[in-house]
């Protein structure tokens, strides 16, 4: 186990370096790198960029940028927002995005596993039908539509005064965006849990436990869930990536000052330093989350030697 963690931690910077180079190539090879200057960049910003990175060409920049990033934890200055450094932008918007994303993942996992389990236990009952409805909506309705409908609802008389509309002020304002964001991953989690729970419920050890007089409640939530939850765990990694994608659009609908808007804007404005900063931060987060999920896998199912066995 320790070897695995060590190995993954060694891999992390390598993967990030690959992502950095690929992003750099994609962004700077595209016409309009700041040094060739066919896009209007403030001369003072460019001057500062050249001095700080001791660079006159993209190639030199490619080499000196990571150095500064590692030694000084400095992502450089934004090329478009004159007054801001990339660090400032990330520092101010990352916490909001992270909280929103984790909140959505939490709702998706807890509700998804709960509904999926209940649906499997009472197959054909109303919870089962609800689970079908959730997965159908989740796979067929883009989250921006769900978000817009929720926004409209929050503006209606029913919820008047509970949520700030189109603004982000208090933590309670994260509830609706979180719900909108959680629906797509929840749809998959419900389906996964239901199927694997049905599978586990028909296994021999359940019959044995029933025969020995263990309560149904205990069998389902204690014995079966631990087995049935494994496919869900392995889906959490992709789900995190999916939530992140969704957060771009949901943040836009609800006007949340998160990292998503900066990502899209920076790409459209060719704000190269900001793109690189945002991509690296996002990727690092997703990679760390994946690592955490892998570790969780080993805890939930001690039989699995992550990475060791086939």
């Amino acid at each position: 186990m320790m070897r695995l963690i060590g190995w993954r931690l060694v891999q992390l910077p390598i993967v990030l370096a690959v992502i950095y180079v690929v992003t750099f190539l994609l962004v700077w090879v595209a016409p309009g790198d700041p040094f060739s200057g066919d896009r209007a960049i403030d001369p003072s910003v460019l001057q500062r960029l050249k001095e700080r990175y001791n660079a006159d060409s993209p190639a030199q920049f490619l080499a000196t940028y990571p150095w500064r990033l590692i030694v000084h934890q400095d992502f450089g200055d934004s090329l478009q927002y004159k007054e801001w450094s990339v660090n400032d932008i990330i520092r101010s918007s990352l916490p909001v995005s992270v909280i929103l994303g984790l909140f959505a993942m939490l709702i998706a996992t807890i509700l998804g596993v709960g509904i999926g389990t209940l649906a499997a236990v009472a197959k054909g009952g109303w919870v089962d039908w609800a689970s079908v409805a959730i997965s159908l909506i989740g796979i067929s309705l883009p989250s921006f539509v769900v978000a817009a409908i929720l926004l409209l609802l929050s503006a209606s008389d029913l919820f008047r005064g509970i949520f700030a509309i189109g603004r982000f002020e208090k933590p309670i304002d994260l509830i609706l965006p979180g719900v909108a964001l959680s629906l797509a991953p929840m749809a998959y989690i419900v389906r996964l849990t239901r199927v694997s729970m049905l599978d586990v419920l028909s296994s021999d050890f359940v019959r044995t436990a029933l025969a020995k007089g263990v309560s149904r409640h205990r069998i389902v939530w204690k014995h079966c869930l631990r087995n049935a939850i494994l496919p869900v765990l392995s889906y959490l990694g992709p789900a995190a990536a999916m939530t992140l994608t969704g957060s771009f659009v949901v943040e836009k609908v609800f006007n949340i000052p998160g990292l998503g808007q900066h990502f899209v804007n920076s790409v459209l404005n060719r704000d190269q330093t900001l793109i690189i900063g945002v991509v690296i931060v996002y990727s690092a987060f997703v990679l760390l989350f994946n690592l955490a999920v892998d570790l969780l896998y080993g805890i939930v199912d001690p039989r699995i030697q992550v990475g060791g066995a086939k």
Partner: protein, 326 residues
């Protein structure tokens, strides 16, 4: 299975034959899903001469001042109402459907080619090639695809536009629009092959150990022949299933991109961009419901049908795999 057995016992008849065709026609999901997709596709394609013809009243960009934000009415062009520029929403939904489905199909094709190739190589060669490739797939899996899509789009689109300009391919679309479309297929396709690569690799790994492959090897068949004649045909089932399931997810991804303003360029419609126009027209004061409802309904109907079709195909072609593997 149990149902068939029950019939055989109670009615004392011979159990219905379990042939491919029988299963095909007895699967409701498959028939309904496939039927709906087919109808939508045919209607969208057959109205193309109307929606792309600048002279017809059905032209997708026909702006009529007095029709601005008119609710649905009895005239054919007004069935779905009109949008903020007075364009017939029905015409835009029809062309939008064509483009959305086209993006879905083209991206799925690219995803199938890349995913199958990677999966086959990985599974068949094995060893360090396999571990390296699967590691790459793992990493890409973890990254939000939209990063890659937008970066690819920014990197390739201008060059492609210049290329199309040089080739003078502008008959219906301008070269910029054509480049926009192609980049969309490419970038969505190039991020959608991961699941397929994993599935194909897994399948190859199991197939490799099967006795019939061993027999073929013992008979001295050359490697490529074993590959083409014995391995590949056994993969058709899972590949078809995942290709079908890639189509709806590609359509959904395009709608996200359209919403973020980096999708298909306006005035070209897609269901996604129509839905986001509908959202832009939403306000608590006046609700132009038709601008959101119709594109969303079409999108939902098609995505659901495609998913049903995929699930149905999975039961048909790949009965051993359980139904909720993603």
């Amino acid at each position: 299975m149990t149902q068939a057995a029950a019939i055989a016992i109670t009615d004392d008849i011979i159990a219905p034959s379990d042939t491919f065709w029988h299963r095909l026609f007895s699967s409701g999901r498959l028939l309904i899903g496939g039927g709906v997709v087919l109808v939508v596709l045919v209607v969208c394609l057959f109205t193309l001469p109307l929606t792309l013809n600048t002279q017809s009243t059905f032209y997708y960009d026909q702006q009529i001042g007095e029709h601005v934000r008119q609710p649905p009415s009895a005239t054919v062009t007004g069935w779905f109402g009109y949008d903020t520029l007075g364009r017939s929403l029905l015409a835009r939904c029809l062309l939008g459907g064509t483009i959305s489905l086209m993006i879905g199909l083209a991206s799925a094709t690219i995803a199938v080619v890349v995913g199958t190739t990677v999966g086959l190589i990985s599974g068949y060669i094995g060893g360090w090639v396999d571990s390296l490739m699967m590691r790459i797939v793992d990493i890409l899996y973890g990254l939000p695809y939209i990063l890659l899509v937008i970066l690819l789009k920014i990197a390739i689109e201008p060059q492609l536009g210049a290329l199309f300009d040089a080739m003078k391919t502008d008959r219906w679309f301008s070269s910029a629009q054509a480049a926009n479309l192609v980049v969309m297929f490419l970038s969505i396709g190039l991020v959608s092959w991961l699941t397929l690569a994993r599935v194909v690799r897994g399948q190859v790994l199991t197939l490799r150990e099967q006795p019939f492959i061993e027999a073929a090897r013992a008979l001295g068949l050359p490697r490529y022949r074993i590959f083409m004649r014995h391995v590949l045909p056994n993969l058709i089932g899972p590949i078809t299933v995942y290709a079908t399931l890639t189509v709806p997810s590609a359509i959904l991804q395009e709608s996200f991109l359209s919403f973020l303003g980096v999708g298909i360029r306006l005035p070209m419609p897609t269901w996604g961009s129509l839905a986001s126009e509908g959202i832009a027209a939403l306000s608590p004061v006046k609700f132009y419901w038709w601008m959101l409802t119709f594109p969303c309904l079409l999108l939902m109907l098609t995505l659901l049908s495609l998913n049903f079709l995929g699930d149905g195909l999975r039961d048909l072609l790949d009965p051993k795999r359980d139904a909720a593997k993603i």
